[in-house]
Symmetry: none
Subunit: 204 residues, 4 copies
């Protein structure tokens, strides 16, 4: 009988390593041999678990964002106040960026950039970047809708507003990554949230 291996676990382990290397060197500059070396396995072994480099990238990408979505969903689940829910999302993102592992921001930006750069339609559709953002939008839109129903927020185009909210995050993250010193991320996000909520709340 051959070595018994939990295929799924090993695949995940390689994926984790790949994500680490992606974060450190960027997706394009990462070579298969880099991942293999870092994972302390042979180059060929990777191909036992992934079809291609692209497959690794897409898997990492999907895993990364789905995990994030899950965590956010869980985080806001217990809370029912829409304002607090938006704060939780902001806080969660903030924590992920600066308190969580140092690579979070880098890999997210790289995925993002890689996604944008892909004119290759097959890859792009595999990445389902659209779908991921649509999911994020749905979460925020749901919160906004709930806020409107509760008479807390003004009537508005909730999908467009959700886009504004989410888009702002990515843009701010970029600037923070580019120049971590200049931007006090916590303060900026706090302003963002206040400004945003101020802008949509019904004034009493």
């Amino acid at each position: 009988m051959p070595r018994v291996v939990n295929k799924e676990a090993k695949k995940m382990q390689i994926l984790q390593v790949a994500m680490k290397v992606f974060a450190r060197k960027g997706v394009v500059k990462t070579k298969m041999i880099d991942i293999a070396t870092e994972a302390a396995i042979g180059k060929g072994t990777i191909y036992e678990y992934f079809r291609s480099k692209e497959d690794i990238f897409i898997s990492a990408f999907t895993y990364f964002f789905e995990t994030m979505l899950d965590e956010i969903n869980q985080a806001i689940h217990a809370e029912h106040d829409p304002v607090r829910q938006l704060q939780i999302i902001t806080d969660y993102s903030l924590k992920s960026l600066i308190q969580g592992n140092e690579e979070f921001a880098d890999i997210m930006m790289d995925f993002w950039a890689e996604g944008v750069r892909h004119k290759n339609q097959v890859v792009l559709s595999s990445m389902n970047l659209k779908g991921i953002y649509a999911d994020y939008r749905k979460i925020v839109a749901k919160i906004l809708k709930s806020g409107i129903n509760q008479g807390i927020f003004k009537k508005m185009d909730i999908n467009a507003a959700a886009s504004v909210f989410i888009g702002t995050f990515d843009g701010i993250m970029l600037q923070w990554i580019l120049d971590r010193k200049i931007l006090n991320l916590q303060k900026v996000l706090s302003i963002l949230l206040d400004t945003f909520i101020n802008g949509i709340k019904i004034e009493k």
Copy 2:
């Protein structure tokens, strides 16, 4: 020395062509031969004007954003009402994205992504992405400061607020590029602006 003038003009002409090709194919997928063919010159000739492909990219990048900055500066120059000035910036960006040449959004996103992806510090510093965003921030910060002085806007951390304003643009642009059908850009930007201004205006 009329040659010098021609040299400069030809360099600029190559740069324009390169930007067009970058927009169409993406920076990485663009080959030197593509630029040469499109510019109707020889492959080797490009190297008379640019040191390397990277040099072209950085030049294009710099030219692109500096031109945009200049145009925005000119556009808000005649106006003195801070709210109107912010509107002008929004309108200008909107126009650039959808009315201006179709490639604007693509090339901006690709530059952006390429910039983020460059772990190569030498290149990244050459691109001066930091500096470019700092300039944008300055413009917006100046408007905000003026608004505060005029008693229109609340007191705030104007640099952080400027980051919020600018960051939102990039993020929204991304989502629009990913899915132009779903996002009504004009409406979203209008909401962004209203929300933002609502958030910072002194309530009367």
Copy 3:
């Protein structure tokens, strides 16, 4: 030691499977995993019975031609008329090609081609292609000699004539494989035989 019998039987079974796969995909395109899968055994198990892929190929090759030789020998054994014996060989080949299993021609041609292509002298000598053709030549030469002795055939260089007879088969087979529609194999072989026998028979 019943194991030994089983070993031999299993080896033969793998060989049969390998030949089937060789015929279907060609030797080079056939992967070890293909043979293992088709034989419903593990990849590693093959190496319990064969040293290498080359070993399988050579074994298959040898088995294939030796079997054919045996069958031909048996077929002509009962007959004593040289003309009839040549006809039997022709008929047997024809039957093998078109009536027997559909893969016969393909695998024979592939072996043939693979044999020619092997510049690797070690492999080539293992295949003993020379020896195999020498055996065929011997059979035909024996028939021709018998015919001469019986006063039916002219005196001739029987080895050279045997080569002509055998060589023609391979060549015609190639053309038939390349274009089965154009070539009416039965008619061509019949002409071949008539022509050949006409050419060597003593005219009365």
Copy 4:
């Protein structure tokens, strides 16, 4: 101005080198770097003249057989006696095999084998092996027809007979290549021709 090069001539030169290496090592074992080294050029340079290794192979294949066809056509052009024409073809082939460059037989066999082995339909159709043999058949068939019309040859299925004639060549060539010592090629071909002609000639 760049180096001036006769592209067509250089392509042909590379092709000649490739054919030499193909003959020495076999098509599959020949690596791009082998051809480049032998041609004293860089690996990349080959790709300036050929799309791929396959392209080189097909080009070599086509060139090889077309050249041979042309030469045979020229050789029989001046002669009108069908028997003599068949002799000329035999002689030409014999000369090519043993007097001409030593590699002739090897490369022909390798092309032949490679052609047979290709289950890849695209490549196979590019090689037009069918077409090439059809051309050969046409030449021989024309001679046979002329012989029949002149009352020299019996009535027969000329296409089938042509196949017999041509096929025999390939088969005999194989055996000669496999064992040059045993087979006296000249004698065998002479026998082949006599036998064949004897078989189709009208007996007086």
